[in-house]
C-alpha cells in the first residue's frame, strides 16, 4: 500500500493525531503509554548498565582500587534493583505487550486504559524513589534485601529503596490485572484461545505471576521496613525472629519473578521465529501449555535458592525435584522453536539474528540451570559467579535478546519507520559476542570458587575477570548502537509499509503506525495464528 517513496501526505495515526506534552502525559492510548514505558525503562537500562560497567572496571584488578568497598556494594545492589524492577520486569510486557496485546486480539485498547496510565505513573513514582536512593548515597543491601543485614546492620537508604520497589510492584500488578481482563474479555469475534498468538499466551502467563506473586514481595519489603523502623521481631533472631522466613517470602516472589522476566521473551521469540521462517509454529498447543506450566510450576521451586541456607535435607530434595520439573517445559520450548525452522524459508533479518542468539543463550542458561538444581553441585556453586553467569544467560542472553529482537521486529509498527538493517545486524552480532565474552568466563570463575559480590578477589581469578570486563565494554557498544540508529530512524528511516516482514497476525493488517483505535472496524478472525500458508512471502530484499 504505502510502497511509494514519494512523500505522500502522512496518514493520521496515534503519533500525529495530537501534539504537546499533555497529549502524552494524560493519554489513555495503550500505544502511547507503551512509548512512555519505552522511554522510562530505556533511561533505567542505561543507569543500570552504567553501574554494571563500574562493577566490571573495579573487578579488572584483584585489589579493591577503583571504588571503596561500600561503593562497590552499592553498585551491585543498585545494578540489580534498577535492572530487575525498572527494566527487565516492565520491559516486554509494559512496552511491547502494552502496544501489541490489544491489537493482536483485535481490540481498540486494554480493558482499563486509565489504570494502564496509572501503572506507568506508579513505575515513574517508584523510579523517582529509586533515583532519590541513588542520588542520596545509595543502598547496599544487595537486591535480595537479606535479613538481618538489611534490617539492623546498614545505615543506608534501605527504606527508600524498598519503597521504590514496593511502588513499582503495584505498577506490575496493575499491568498484569489489565492484561488478564483484556485477554479474557476483549478478544475480537473468532479470536478463540486456540487462535491467540503465543505472544499473548506468554503475557497472559506472565500476568498471572504478576498478580499472584508481586503482593508477596510487597509484604516482605513491608516487613523489612517494620522491623527496621519499629524493631518488630520478625526476621532478626535477637528480637525473636527468623532470618530464613525472609528468604522464603522473598524467593516466593523472586523466583517466579524470573519467569515474569523470561516468559514474555519466549512469546516474542515465537513471533519472530515463525515470521522469519515463514512457517507455522511447531506444536502450538504444547507451546501454549508449556508457558502456563512454567508459570504454575515456577511458584513451587523458590527454596532452590536456599539449599545451603539451613533448610532441612528433605525440603531441599523436594525443591530440587520440582526444579527439574520446571526445566521440562523450558526444554520443550527450545525444541519447538528449532523444529519450527525445519523446512522453513529462513531470512536472516535483525530480529531473527536476535532469535538465534536467544535460543542459543537461553539454552545455555537453561542447561546450567540443570547444574545448579543438582543439590550436590549447588552446594559448591551457589553464591559464586557460576550462578551470576547462569542467571545473566537467562536474563540478558535470553530476555534482553528477546526484547531487542522484539523492538526491531515491531519498530516499523511502533514508529512507522524502518531501522537501518545492516546496522541492526552488526549490533546484534556485537551484542552476541560481547555477551558471551562477558559471562562465559564467569561460569569458570564460579566453578573455581570465586564468590559473588566480592569487591576484591584472589589473584588467580584475574585473567578470567579481565576477559569478562573486556566483554562488558563490547556489550556496552552493542547496546549504544541501536539507541543511536533507532533515534536516527525516527526522522530519516525509510517509511515502513504496513507489513514489511510479510508476517502473520492482526498487528500487520493495520497501518504502520496504527491509528488511535487500531481498527476501523472490529475484525472477525477466521484463521489460526501463524497462518503462513495463506500469506505471500515478502519480496527478497537486497
Amino acid at each position: 500500500m504505502a510502497s511509494t517513496l514519494v512523500a505522500a501526505p502522512e496518514r493520521e495515526n496515534y503519533l500525529n493525531n495530537e501534539y504537546g506534552i499533555s497529549s502524552w502525559l494524560f493519554t489513555t492510548d495503550h500505544k502511547r503509554i507503551a512509548l512512555l514505558y519505552l522511554v522510562t525503562i530505556t533511561f533505567f537500562f542505561f543507569i543500570g548498565g552504567f553501574f554494571a560497567l563500574l562493577i566490571r572496571l573495579e573487578l579488572l584488578t584483584p585489589e579493591g582500587d577503583l571504588v571503596l568497598a561500600d561503593t562497590y556494594n552499592k553498585l551491585f545492589t543498585m545494578h540489580g534493583q534498577v535492572m530487575i524492577f525498572f527494566f527487565l520486569i516492565p520491559a516486554v510486557p509494559a512496552v511491547l505487550g502494552n502496544f501489541l496485546i490489544p491489537i493482536m486480539i483485535g481490540a481498540k485498547d486494554l480493558a482499563f486504559p486509565r489504570i494502564n496510565l496509572l501503572s506507568w505513573y506508579l513505575l515513574v513514582i517508584g523510579g523517582c524513589f529509586m533515583t532519590y536512593t541513588i542520588l542520596s548515597g545509595g543502598v547496599d543491601t544487595g537486591w535480595t534485601f537479606y535479613t538481618p543485614l538489611s534490617t539492623h546492620f546498614l545505615d543506608t537508604h534501605v527504606i527508600a529503596a524498598a519503597l521504590a520497589i514496593f511502588i513499582a510492584g503495584f505498577s506490575s500488578i496493575l499491568t498484569g490485572l489489565n492484561f488478564i481482563v483484556t485477554i479474557h474479555r476483549m478478544r475480537a469475534p473468532g479470536m478463540t484461545w486456540s487462535r491467540l498468538p503465543l505472544f499473548v499466551w506468554a503475557n497472559y502467563a506472565t500476568a498471572i505471576i504478576q498478580v499472584l506473586g508481586t503482593p508477596v514481595l510487597a509484604i516482605s519489603l513491608m516487613l523489612v521496613a517494620l522491623e527496621r523502623i519499629f524493631h518488630l521481631g520478625i526476621f532478626d533472631p535477637r528480637l525473636g525472629g527468623d532470618p530464613l522466613l525472609f528468604q522464603h517470602l522473598f524467593w516466593f516472589y523472586s523466583h517466579p519473578a524470573v519467569y515474569i522476566m523470561i516468559l514474555p521473551g519466549m512469546g516474542v521469540i515465537s513471533e519472530i521465529v515463525t515470521c522469519f521462517s515463514h512457517k507455522r509454529i511447531f506444536g502450538y498447543q504444547f507451546m501454549a501449555l508449556a508457558l502456563i506450566a512454567i508459570a504454575v510450576l515456577g511458584f513451587l521451586v523458590w527454596a532452590h535458592h536456599m539449599f545451603v541456607a539451613g533448610i532441612s535435607l528433605y525440603a531441599a530434595m523436594v525443591f530440587s525435584l520440582l526444579s527439574y520439573f520446571v526445566a521440562v517445559p523450558s526444554a520443550i520450548k527450545v525444541f519447538n522453536w528449532t523444529a519450527t525452522m525445519f523446512k522453513g524459508s529462513i531470512t536472516y533479518s535483525t530480529p531473527m539474528l536476535y532469535a538465534f542468539g536467544f535460543i542459543g543463550l537461553f539454552t545455555m542458561g537453561g542447561m546450567t540451570g540443570l547444574f545448579v538444581a543438582a543439590l550436590g553441585i549447588d552446594v559448591h556453586v551457589t553464591d559464586t559467579y557460576f550462578v551470576v553467569a547462569h542467571f545473566h544467560y537467562i536474563m540478558v542472553g535470553g530476555m534482553v535478546m528477546a526484547y531487542m529482537g522484539g523492538l526491531h521486529f515491531w519498530w516499523p509498527k511502533l514508529s512507522g519507520r524502518m531501522y537501518p538493517e545492516n546496522w541492526g545486524r552488526l549490533a546484534a552480532l556485537i551484542i552476541f559476542i560481547g555477551f558471551n565474552l562477558t559471562f562465559f568466563p564467569q561460569f569458570v570463575l564460579g566453578w573455581l570458587g570465586m564468590p559473588r559480590r566480592y569487591w576484591q578477589y584472589s589473584p588467580e581469578f584475574q585473567v578470567l575477570n579481565v576477559l569478562s570486563t573486556a566483554g562488558a565494554t563490547i556489550l556496552a557498544v552493542g547496546y549504544l548502537l541501536p539507541m543511536v540508529y533507532f533515534l536516527w530512524s525516527m526522522r530519516y528511516g525509510k517509511p515502513a509499509s504496513d507489513n514489511p516482514w510479510g508476517a502473520a497476525g492482526l498487528e500487520w493488517m493495520i497501518s504502520s503506525p496504527p491509528t488511535t483505535f487500531n481498527f476501523d472496524q472490529t475484525p472477525t478472525v477466521t484463521w489460526e495464528a501463524y497462518n503462513y500458508d495463506e500469506l505471500q512471502e515478502a519480496p527478497v530484499e537486497r
Binding site: 538481618p148 526445566a327 525452522m341 522453513g344 542459543g360 543438582a374 576484591q456 503462513y532
Partner: protein, 334 residues
C-alpha cells in the same frame, strides 16, 4: 592451587569433592552434547532452508509423537540427574558419628574457630587429613556462609542457631576459606586459610598451643561461675534437670513432645529456657541472652556434650549411645 595464575579446575582436597566433580563432568558432557545438537540443528536449518528463489516453506503443524518424545526423554534424564545430585547432597548433609568438632563463630568480618582441645584461631583453620571434621557454626550478627571451594562445601552460618557442615580432608595444603553470603562492607575481606596437615603434624600443632585448657574445661568453669551448677546438679536431681547423659538422647517435654537434645537444643535452652521445658520441671530458669558470648555458649555446649560419657567411664563412644528403639522413637515423633 594458590600459586597457579590461570587455573581452570579447582583443587580436590576432600573426600566428597571427587563425587561432586564426577557429576559435574557428567553434566558438562551431557549438556555439551545437547547444546551442540541444538546449535548444529539451528545452523543446518538456517543454511539449508534459507530463503531463496524457488524454495518454499513446508507448513508443518507439529506432531504429538515428537512432542511426547522430547517431553519424556528429557524428563527421564532430569530425574536421573536429580537422584545423583540428591545422593551427594545427602552425604554432604549427614555428618558421620565420631567426628572431630570445631566450633565456629562468624562475625562481621571474621571467622573464629574453637577446637575442643582448647586452641582458638582467627581466619585460619588447622585440620588433619583423613579425619571427619564437623563444623558447628553460628553467627554473632548477620548471615555468613562457610565456603571452602577445595572441599566443595558451603553452609550458611546463621545468627541465633547452629548450622553444621562436615568434610574429610584428603590432601595436605592451604586452601581458601571464603564467606559466600553477602554480609556488608568487608564481605570480600572475610576470608581465611584452611590448613590441612598430616595427622602427626596436626598433633604437634595442637600441642604447641600452650596450656589453655580444653573447650570442655572452659565450659565447666563457666558452668560453675554462671551458677548453672546450683540447679543443674550433677550428683542428684536439683531444681533443673540433671544433665548427665542427656546429650544426644530424646527428651520428653512439658507439652508432651519429644525432641532430641542436640547442639541447637542446648543452645536454645540457655538463651530461651522457657521455649522447650523438660517434663516435670517449672520454667524458672532465667535467660542468659546477652550474658554469655557466642564463644562461651560453644564452651557450655561442649561441656554439656561431654557430660554424657565422663561419669560412668564405661562408654568409649561419647555420642549416640541411646538404645536403638528410643532413637527410632524420636525420628518418628520429629
Amino acid at each position: 592451587m594458590l600459586s597457579n595464575t590461570f587455573p581452570l579446575w579447582p583443587t580436590r582436597a576432600s573426600t566428597i569433592s571427587g563425587q561432586v566433580d564426577a557429576l559435574f563432568i557428567f553434566l558438562l558432557m551431557l549438556c555439551g552434547l545437547m547444546c551442540m545438537a541444538i546449535f548444529v540443528a539451528i545452523v543446518v536449518f538456517a543454511i539449508r532452508y534459507r530463503k531463496r528463489p524457488g524454495h518454499q516453506a513446508t507448513q508443518i503443524e507439529g506432531s504429538n509423537a515428537v512432542e511426547f518424545t522430547w517431553t519424556f526423554i528429557p524428563a527421564g534424564i532430569f530425574l536421573f540427574i536429580f537422584v545423583w545430585g540428591a545422593y551427594i547432597y545427602f552425604l554432604e548433609r549427614t555428618p558421620p558419628r565420631d567426628s572431630m568438632d570445631v566450633y565456629t563463630v562468624a562475625k562481621q568480618w571474621m571467622w573464629k574457630f574453637q577446637h575442643t582441645e582448647g586452641q582458638r584461631e582467627i581466619n585460619e583453620l588447622h585440620i588433619p587429613i583423613g579425619r571427619d571434621v564437623r563444623m558447628i557454626m553460628t553467627s554473632q550478627d548477620v548471615i555468613h556462609s562457610f565456603y571452602v571451594p577445595a572441599f566443595r562445601i558451603k553452609q550458611d552460618v546463621l545468627p541465633g542457631r547452629y548450622t553444621i557442615a562436615w568434610f574429610r580432608a584428603s590432601k595436605a595444603g592451604t586452601y581458601h576459606l571464603f564467606c559466600a553470603e553477602y554480609c556488608g562492607t568487608n564481605h570480600s575481606g572475610m576470608i581465611g586459610d584452611v590448613v590441612v596437615m598430616e595427622p602427626a603434624q596436626f598433633q604437634s600443632w595442637l600441642n604447641g598451643g600452650g596450656p589453655m585448657g580444653s573447650l570442655t574445661q572452659t565450659g565447666e568453669g563457666l558452668f560453675q561461675s554462671l551458677g548453672c551448677s546450683t540447679c543443674h546438679r550433677l550428683d542428684t536431681q536439683g531444681r533443673g534437670p540433671n544433665l548427665i547423659g542427656v546429650f544426644g538422647k530424646p527428651v520428653l517435654l512439658e507439652d508432651g513432645r519429644t525432641i532430641t537434645a542436640d547442639e541447637n537444643y542446648v543452645r536454645e535452652s540457655i538463651l530461651s529456657p522457657a521455649a522447650k521445658v523438660v517434663s516435670g520441671f517449672k520454667p524458672i530458669m532465667p535467660t542468659f541472652q546477652g550474658i554469655v558470648s557466642e564463644e562461651e555458649l560453644n564452651a557450655l555446649v561442649a561441656y554439656v556434650k561431654s557430660l554424657t560419657a565422663q561419669p560412668s567411664g564405661a562408654a568409649q563412644n561419647p555420642t549416640f549411645q541411646g538404645p536403638a528403639a528410643s532413637k527410632a522413637d524420636t525420628t518418628r515423633q520429629r
